[in-house]
Symmetry: C2
Subunit: 136 residues, 2 copies
DNA sequence: CATAACTGTAACAATATATATTACAATTCA
DNA sequence: TGAATTGTAATATATATTGTTACAGTTATG
């Protein structure tokens, strides 16, 4: 990952889980997270695309979880916000004339896949419900 | 991590391991990686600080591994370039008035520590020597 | 001992990415 | 119909990454 989208999405989902089915507005969510409401709405759209939340337009609209918090694993959240490999591949293209350089990307990609998989497995161990239960 | 420094450092170390003790110049390394030599020199300084390489100034100068490739684990490289948690904490400070928001950073930090630890353990499984052996 | 080949390092420029803001159409409730 | 809200685009601002230039300091070697 590259930014703080995972943090923001976990924060949103934790708030929704604590709301027990009530809808929360993007303004309310943004107020707790302390970021711009438009960013929250963008994240909500992404989370909805990944079937983690639903939202309602119009007056009394807002967002709510689309399934029970115990059925959402933090790995699901990670996968929803993931856009590029965890360990940043360099932008440059290694020199194809160099026998090491020209194979580097392949081997690094394999290595990164394994490393990222290990991390996702760890995230899979925690459900949203468990995460929420840690809060007082 | 945030950038491609891990990739660059692994690339550098792989080239040095393949050179079997011969020194390589930052210009040569930069040519294989296809980045600016100054960036390579900066990475070399960091790798040296972490006791992975040594370097010699002046004519016929350059860099070389400071220990056997089999004694360098890819987790060592990760730790050398690591500067911030793997999963980016958001820049914003959650609203301290929100009972969820005010505890969020703590719980996220614990979560991230566990996730990152799992990934580092996976990297620890591969030595630089093993990584190099994958190349034709 | 002069010269060429290097590293070390600072200062700065360019580019890319992330985040924030503004604005407003579309939707829904009451 | 009016108020509250999402959805979304366009644009601005901030921050981070990467690249460049320049040059002082170091070392090997003829």
């Amino acid at each position: 990952m590259n930014n703080s989208r995972f943090s923001i999405s976990v924060h949103i989902l934790t708030l929704l889980a604590s709301a027990k089915g009530e809808v929360l507005t993007s303004d309310y969510l943004a107020g707790s997270i302390n970021i711009n409401p438009v960013l929250v709405r963008k994240e909500l759209i992404n989370l909805r695309k990944h079937n983690l939340i639903n939202s309602r337009e119009g007056k009394n609209g807002g967002a709510y979880l689309s399934k029970a918090a115990k059925d959402i694993r933090l790995s699901d959240v990670y996968e929803a916000v993931r856009q590029s490999p965890l360990l940043g591949q360099a932008k440059n293209t290694p020199n194809p004339k160099c026998p090491i350089g020209r194979q580097m990307d392949n081997h690094l990609t394999n290595l990164y896949d394994d490393a990222e998989r290990a991390m996702v497995e760890q995230l899979r161990a925690t459900t949203l419900s468990q995460f929420l239960n840690q809060f007082d």
